[in-house]
């Protein structure tokens, strides 16, 4: 009999089934074979000596996180981040599967590049890495890439990355074409002509700071356009990183009319509001920007209602030379792989969310969107797991982060909830010492 690993004395949290109870889990050869309250110390006694027994000591065991939006610098800008360093940050953050954006150099817009990412990740990454395919060639928003062949090569979905497709005709045809394969298209909602050279959320606070603001309508217009095109083409759409309550309402309304639309939210949008940019902090210069408190609360309410399909890290490593600049000149982006789970757990600790509602959009939510078997504590699912202490307080110091770039807006912040151990296919890929 193949060696088993038994994890017992754990609080089992599984958003897919709604399970929240004390019990244990058994996995064999990387696959979960049993889970439930019946797996306890007596079973441990019955197990032959060769089994690995892990006492979770009452800590929480959940499916490993799935993050649908990660940028690395590989290929092209390895000084920012490689697939290897990003996977280390992921493992330390309890993320066991992540999707890399095609915004690389060269752009992941061909079968060869998708293949490169898959093979490279298989060689160096500690966690599972899925490439997203570029929707248009070079992400230029003009000509669609080989969506069929790239999809067959293993692209998780298609996206134009950080560059919204401006030309509605191109977007419409790409959606039409993709719908023939039932492929998922992720689109970042932005009207670039309204957000060019902006630094933060538009409004009174930006005006007081003397900074150019990105108006929320730039997002609303794009959300409406893409939802409309998804409706008429029948395409599957993921509205990527909405940041306002109104965008969420639009997605919900469209869904009520049968549009096949999902939406994601960046974890930072759930934690910060525009006031956090206060001291011209360039680590807080991100896109979409931190919005007002009302929008933050609306997104939290969306999580409670279960209408946000995915919360993403929007991990975007940037080196100091691009961040240690006056805020108007600094580049956008923040690392987030390692803080994704702690941000959600901090919201739970502050009583803003239940643990199940917080974890669904990082486990079964994205898994269902991509049709992945992981993201659940269920018999037959891969043993991608995270063991964490949901209330342990810690101080985030950017120098302790595993990412090669340290541009975290959480630097110097107190967070609650820490990852203790991460498993991918049953193998421990991170353990806090």
């Amino acid at each position: 009999m193949t060696a088993r690993t038994v994890i017992h004395n754990a609080r089992l949290i599984d958003p897919a089934s709604g399970r929240d109870e004390i019990g244990g889990l058994i996995h064999v050869a990387g696959v979960i074979t049993d889970v439930g309250p019946h797996i306890g110390p007596d079973l441990r006694k019955a197990a032959p000596g060769r089994d690995t027994i892990i006492d979770a000591k009452g800590k929480t065991l959940a499916p490993g996180l799935i993050d649908l939006r990660v940028k690395t610098g590989e290929p092209g800008a390895e000084s920012k981040e490689t697939l290897e360093t990003a996977s280390q940050a992921a493992a330390a953050g309890g993320v066991t599967t992540f999707v890399v954006m095609p915004d690389t150099d060269p752009v992941i817009d061909s079968v060869a590049l998708v293949d490169f990412i898959k093979r490279r990740a298989a060689g160096v990454a500690k966690v599972k890495v899925l490439p997203a395919g570029g929707l248009t060639l070079g992400l230029e928003g003009k000509r669609m890439s080989e969506l069929g062949l790239i999809g067959e090569a293993g692209a998780a979905f298609f996206t134009n990355g950080d560059q919204a497709v401006e030309d509605a005709g191109v977007m419409r045809r790409a959606m039409q074409y993709a719908s023939g394969f039932d492929a998922l298209i992720a689109s970042r909602p932005d009207t670039h002509s309204l957000t060019r050279n902006t630094v933060m959320n538009a409004g009174a606070f930006a005006a007081r700071l003397g900074l150019r603001g990105a108006p929320p309508e730039a997002e609303w217009i794009a959300v409406e356009r893409d939802l409309t095109l998804a409706e008429t083409t029948g395409a599957r759409l993921l509205v990527d990183c909405i940041s306002t309550g109104r965008s969420l309402r639009s997605v919900e309304q469209a869904r009520a009319f049968g549009v096949r639309a999902a939406c994601s939210v960046a974890a930072y949008s759930l934690f910060f509001n525009e006031l956090d940019v206060g001291d011209y902090l360039t680590y807080c210069k991100v896109f979409p920007p931190f919005r007002g408190e009302a929008d933050r609360r609306a997104l939290i309410e969306g999580l409670k209602r279960g209408v946000i399909d995915a919360v993403v890290s929007a991990h975007d490593p940037q080196p100091p030379e691009d961040k240690r600049l006056p805020i108007s000149d600094a580049t956008y982006g923040a690392v987030g792989l390692e803080t994704l789970l702690p941000v959600l757990l901090s919201l739970v600790a502050r009583d803003e969310l239940s643990l199940l509602a917080a974890l669904k959009p990082v486990t079964s939510g994205p898994a269902d969107l991509l049709g992945l078997p992981q993201g659940r504590l269920a018999e037959g699912a891969p043993a991608d797991l995270v063991l964490f202490d949901p209330t342990a307080p810690w101080l985030c110091d950017r120098d302790d982060l595993h990412s090669r770039s340290k541009n975290s807006p959480f630097d110097g912040r107190r967070l609650e909830g820490r990852v203790l151990r991460t498993f991918v296919d049953g193998v421990t890929v991170f353990e806090r010492g």
């Binding site: 669609m144 080989e146 969506l147 062949l149 083409t233």
Partner: protein, 329 residues
């Protein structure tokens, strides 16, 4: 030798073709179509003789007016006209007066004043041929208008199938490729439906016209499923400019999913025939081995049927034309 009378002589014309022009398949009924095909059938026989000439259009003037480049359709009409004894003038208008700024209607009025009897028109804009037909006194034949209709192509395709297989009723016929921009597909779907075929359209969504499901055809995006049990596979030409990422990512991706190769053809009936209106893009929509297949490819046969069907159309419309001289006398 039949040099003075057409193939239509005989007592079998109880039904008079009721149209002055041939602007499209739309508006034709089963009798109209069968009459043209029957006459075409007889012209095939004539065309296989050493002396391919009759005088049914002697003294009449056929004007071929091509506003869009064409080799096979223009020469097919020209040969058809000459074999029927007409005086044929072919003009490629793309490079003449239109370039000088003359409007389409002015060109038509000018040519009409020269008193042609039959006017064959190809134009890049849908509806342009119909517009011209309202401004002239002679019979107008649509040789392709924009992405609207190409009725003689549909007739020649039907004649080809009829001669090879027999009755078109009940056959399962797939039309594959760029349906959106195809006038051939639009004419063929209508004609094949009238003759009782089961029509299937196979195309990527970007090249499937909105509402195609209401054309009386089953629409497929998966070519293998679409080809299942088909008796005839009609491939369409894919314009180069459609493949540059606007409608399709690339020629190779198109061939991968929609190019007719041995493997995909294997999903059709074992003896299914392959057709293409030409000119072909070998390696894009069709594999060379299939295009040149001795028993299954009907592509060169289609060209032969084209001349015969166009002779039938010219003769039928000429017979219907009012004699203006007599009326004004």
């Amino acid at each position: 030798m039949a040099t003075t009378t057409g193939a239509s002589t005989g007592a079998d014309y109880a039904y008079a073709f009721p149209h002055r022009h041939l602007l499209g398949i739309e508006g034709l009924n089963r009798l109209d179509i069968e009459q043209l095909l029957n006459l075409g059938d007889r012209y095939v026989d004539l065309n296989r003789r050493r002396v391919k000439h009759v005088d049914v259009l002697a003294g009449q003037t056929l004007l071929n007016l091509f506003f869009e480049a064409s080799t096979r359709t223009a020469s097919s009409f020209e040969i058809a006209g000459r074999r029927l004894g007409a005086d044929v003038i072919s003009m490629s208008v793309a490079m003449s007066s239109v370039k000088k700024g003359e409007t389409l209607i002015d060109t038509a009025m000018t040519l009409n004043a020269m008193r042609p009897d039959l006017l064959v028109i190809r134009h890049g804009s849908s509806g342009a041929v119909k517009l011209l037909s309202r401004k002239v006194d002679c019979a107008v034949i649509n040789a392709g208008d924009g992405t609207h209709e190409h009725p003689t192509q549909a007739l020649l395709d039907a004649l080809t199938i009829r001669r090879r297989i027999g009755d078109i009723g009940g056959l399962r016929i797939a039309i594959c490729g760029d349906i959106l921009h195809s006038r051939v597909a639009r004419s063929n779907v209508q004609l094949l439906n009238i003759l009782g075929a089961q029509v299937r359209l196979i195309a990527p969504r970007t090249l499937t016209p909105p509402g195609a499901a209401d054309w009386g055809a089953d629409v497929f995006t998966d070519m293998r499923k679409g080809l299942e049990g088909c008796d005839v596979v009609m491939m369409l030409r894919l314009q180069q400019e459609r493949m540059d990422g606007a409608y399709l990512p690339s020629a190779r991706e198109f061939f991968h999913y929609y190019g007719l190769d041995q493997e995909k053809l294997g999903y059709a009936k074992p003896e299914a025939f392959v057709m293409h209106p030409g000119p072909m893009n070998r390696g894009v929509e069709i594999e060379s081995g299939i295009a040149d297949h001795k028993t299954r490819s009907l592509i060169t046969e289609q060209v032969e049927m084209g001349v015969a069907v166009r002779m039938a159309v010219l003769e039928t419309l000429a017979r219907n034309a009012p004699d203006l001289g007599a009326k004004n006398a």
